[in-house]
């Protein structure tokens, strides 16, 4: 399985990532997921989220998830990009692409990766509220 993990403070240019997609005609499924910063939560408006990470452990834990995904499903390629730092409302904070022979395994693997990363990968976010210049939990 080809794998690629990027943790970056640079905005995610999805078109550029898609253009770099590894591909051959034996693959019948490409699943992409984009997590986007909402501009509101039930308790108020949000202008951005600030992401921080224990980066060395985050890379290790992502690696373990990639290993497990490869064990569970016949994935050809798994690429994941996660923003760190301040991500404005409307911007993509997480982008995942999975290429596989069939849609079932690609969809299942993508959903599983998102759920598991929210359980074990040490990345945190805090809201920067609309009308505030500083962070708020």
């Amino acid at each position: 399985m080809r794998r690629e993990l990027t943790l970056t403070e640079t905005p995610i240019d999805e078109a550029t990532w898609v253009a770099g997609r590894p591909w051959d005609a034996s693959n019948g499924a490409v699943v992409t997921f984009s997590g986007v910063v909402r501009d509101h939560e039930p308790d108020g408006g949000i202008r951005a989220l600030e992401y921080t990470a224990f980066e060395r452990m985050a890379r290790h834990q992502f690696g373990l998830l990639f290993d497990e995904a490869e064990r569970r499903w016949p994935i050809v390629s798994l690429r994941l990009v996660h923003r760190l730092g301040i991500v404005a409302a409307g911007e993509t904070s997480l982008w995942i692409e999975i290429v596989a022979p069939h849609r079932g395994e690609a969809l299942a693997a993508c959903g599983w990766i998102v759920e598991e990363m929210k359980r074990v990968v040490p990345i945190w976010k805090r809201a920067l509220r609309t009308g505030q210049s500083g962070p708020a939990h």
Partner: protein, 81 residues
């Protein structure tokens, strides 16, 4: 031995620092380290039930036997995505 404990996310604000060094007798467990840490930093003790604990880059439970040079990390539930 002295165990270095790294704090992440808002645990740093709760404790007022990013890392703490805790002297522990040889043969101590991770659970015993946490008991000692919470005595020194009661603000962290309030978060005990939801705290995640790692040694180096692996999650570990309270029965883990601490080794010389181990570095421990404490952090709140993760929130990536």
């Amino acid at each position: 031995m002295t165990v270095k404990v790294h704090l992440w996310s808002y645990f740093r604000e709760l404790a007022g620092c990013a890392e703490v060094e805790v002297p522990m007798p040889p043969g101590s467990t991770l659970g015993q380290l946490l008991d000692e840490l919470y005595l020194r930093h009661p603000s962290l003790a309030a978060m005990r039930n939801s705290t995640l604990v790692a040694v180096d880059v692996e999650y570990q439970g309270p029965a883990y036997l601490l080794q010389e040079q181990d570095e421990v990390s404490l952090f709140p539930p993760v929130q990536g995505g």
